[in-house]
């Protein structure tokens, strides 16, 4: 093999970043007939794609992304069909809760905005909400209700994709950090960290799918687009008796609760911990642990006696306008970028599919999100 480096390293497309979006892009490109390699500096789906809360909800999706999320929701629910193995995607209804007058207003406003983009969300009375989810706090004043909701076990994502990618013939290269990309008329040369002892890969096309690290990847190509890093805290309980049967969130979006079939309850919502792009997630902020646990135990009082089994962190990417970055890398022919979607796990498989459709020269099912709009756009609060 070492004597035949050309044929073993020339690809129609090399995808850098093995999260949901990169995996889905690589899979759909391969299924579209391309010779594809997928490279990650670590194992597949061990960053945000494998450690997120697995919420498949429309209640927390940005309104304009609802049509994408609904298509992706279907993909997750059907994962066995297109991935071969699933991620325990489970269809349950979702409720978003309001405990104050201000939150009632917020629930109405947000339900309306998402309805306009096709989310079947209605606002229901506390009595109706308690029929659906008897365990909610008696102080509930109103709730948003949506039948299209549910959850997956995000930690299974890497295993499911690895299986599908292997069958599709994608060359999966894990634990191999890319050092840079040399782009020219002949395509791209993807260079690896010297420690890997791996020759560069030649590719006609390169796809950057590195989540919060997209900023660094774009810099390889001389393109500057800032990507904000959110350090989300997650908390999971030990296995407990059944305490809920929906996905719960609150009006402002800063709580997600679900109970898996194994009895564990996952508490998320994007409360911020310590960490950054360079070091990853470092540790939870004590006051944000307290806040998140209080909100969870308030929303669902039966949770308060549950014991915490584990706390961890995941990095979520956000662009200056908090919309995804999916399309051509500005000024670099044959280079593409896909990522940074809010609730990116929910929408991820679909975002990868439309990225692949675009690269394959097909009409994407939904419009992409042109990266060029972000050139020079200041990051709010920066």
């Amino acid at each position: 093999m070492s004597g035949n480096t050309h044929s073993s390293t020339a690809f129609d497309a090399v995808v850098i970043g093995g999260g949901v979006m990169g995996c889905s892009t690589a899979l759909h490109l391969a299924q579209g007939g391309m010779r594809v390699a997928l490279v990650d500096r670590g194992p597949l789906c061990r960053e945000a794609s494998g450690v997120n809360a697995g919420t498949l909800t429309l209640h927390m999706t940005r309104a304009a992304l609802v049509p994408y999320a609904m298509r992706a929701w279907k993909m997750w629910m059907d994962a066995e069909k297109w991935l071969g193995t699933g991620v325990l995607a489970t269809h349950v209804p979702g409720l978003t809760l309001a405990f104050t007058e201000a939150e009632c207003e917020l629930v109405e406003l947000r339900a309306k905005a998402r309805r306009e983009y096709g989310a079947p969300i209605e606002v229901i009375s506390p009595a109706r909400a308690r029929e659906i989810e008897p365990g909610v706090h008696p102080g509930l004043m109103k709730a948003g209700y949506c039948d299209i909701d549910g959850f997956a076990s995000a930690y299974l994502t890497g295993r499911a994709f690895r299986h599908a990618l292997t069958i599709a013939g994608v060359e999966v290269i894990e634990n191999t950090p890319v050092a840079g990309i040399d782009s020219g008329d002949a395509g791209h040369l993807i260079r690896f960290d010297g420690l890997t002892n791996r020759p560069p890969l030649q590719a006609a096309r390169v796809v950057l799918a590195g989540g919060v690290w997209i900023e660094n990847m774009l810099a390889w190509l001389g393109v500057q687009i800032p990507i904000k890093v959110l350090v989300n805290q997650l908390i999971i309980t030990e296995r407990v008796r059944p305490v809920m049967r929906t996905v719960l969130s609150v009006a402002n979006g800063l709580l997600s609760l679900k109970q898996f079939a194994n009895g564990t309850v996952l508490i998320g919502g994007g409360w911020q911990g310590e960490g950054d792009r360079e070091r990853g997630g470092i540790e939870a902020r004590p006051q944000n642990l307290v806040g998140n646990m209080r909100l969870a135990a308030y929303a669902l009082p039966a949770l308060s006696e549950a014991r915490i089994a584990r706390i961890w962190l995941g990095l979520e990417a956000e662009t200056a306008d908090a919309m995804p970055i999916i399309g051509d890398v500005p000024g670099v022919p044959g280079a593409y970028v896909v990522g940074s979607a809010h609730s990116g796990y929910t929408s991820g498989p679909f975002m990868g599919r439309i990225m692949a459709q675009y690269i394959l020269g097909q009409q994407p099912e939904m419009p992409l999100f042109d990266p060029a709009r972000l050139l020079g756009m200041p990051m709010p609060g920066a």
Partner: protein, 482 residues
Amino acid sequence: MAEAPPCPIDLLVIGAGPAGARAALRAQAYGLDVLLVDENPDAGGQVWRPLPPGFARAAGIQPSSEAVQGDALRAKLRGSGIRCLFDHKVWNVGSSLRTDLIGPEGVTSWQPRALLVATGTTERVVPFIGWTLPGVVGLAAATILLKSQNMLPGRRTVVAGSGPLLLAVASGILKAGGEVAAVLDLATRSDWLQTLPSLAGRPDLLWQGVQWQARLRKAGVPLLYRHGIASVDAVGGGFRVHAQPVDRTGAHVARTAPSIFEADAVAVGHGLVPGTDITRLLRARHRYEATRGGWIADADAQGRTSVAGLYVAGDGAGIAGAAAAGAHGELAAVACAHDLGRLTAEAHARERDYLLKQWYKPARFGRAMAGLMALREGAVASIAPDTVVCRCEDVTRAEIDAAARDGALDMNQLKAWTRCGMGPCQGRTCGDVAGALLAAHVGSREAVGCFTGRAPLRPVSLAEVAGDYTYADIPIPKAAPL
């Protein structure tokens, strides 16, 4: 817990066994403000474990030398005025070394300038069919029953595994009036003889070993070298223990028929694994050293880790035995005193050199014993496919092998793909053996690494962390973008 700022302290010592307790005493002597924390009701750790609160030794029962040493240590601690929080668990440690405790009064937080982790070890059991049955206990658990509670694990016990605890437990059972069906030792007589030079400086321990052996012989207990447990079946009210001959690596020798022993209890242990939960949580550098128990924090002779202000001592820093742990704890205390400006470089060097001499002989013996207890590759290779390895999450060997074949490359990926290590013990029980199983596919223990450390170190309830509050007390951040 959010309201009160953490309480400042010079040195917080986690674990009041020989290492932690002696470190606390020594550090206090240098004028450091010390807090000593342990989840047990009193100091002593595993080896010098006290009687339960309210219990007294019956008249006429001679206390063991370990009980005498433990009582002396506890008396010394009480007289020292060192602040001790027993019955307190450490559930989280932040990168500032902020340490969160959960005790009878709820959750409290401390902010030490230096943190010494002296949390000892967890017993390793190389799983076999039946190891999770009630009545199958660890050798260390059996010593707790015998030493602290004066209880037998059963009327008739099979004692199996490796290391010095085998003879200690078997002999302890006989002394307490119980019956030992058999002792199954993975090692050979010559493995034991090879540790003799290390005993040169410890005639007391050599004599103790001889006495243990003599007691077993006198009671006619079969002592089977190079034997392990193939399986334990629950039959009627008891167990049928299948003893299997093994080779030098601990692998079952298939051609030989197993010997069967009837018993109503099994005490089994395959060595000790250093407790690295806290050093892993703090992302200290670690290295794999099989003969010292497995993964240990990379530290200098005085327990300074790669994280500033974080120290390790005792068996948790790499197994060298209880007798060496005290001096190791003092070495770490001397390092803390120096690093916190309470000891000149000259005095530090003098104290360190003196303590290193004290530490050397018991450590040499302890490390020889640790070598006997080291994980044997063949024993891991012989685990039957349908044996549960992770007992919190019921993950079998076959599931671990399947994940490895599907491409799991490291321990965290294995955890995600199989739930191995995701339960309340955080992988303390299964992590070492699961690591060996994965490493057999991937190449090395270094390549597969270990589970990332995660809080909580001990389970803690939402109510305990959340405290008393109303909805208005929840600091709800601004809404996510719509």
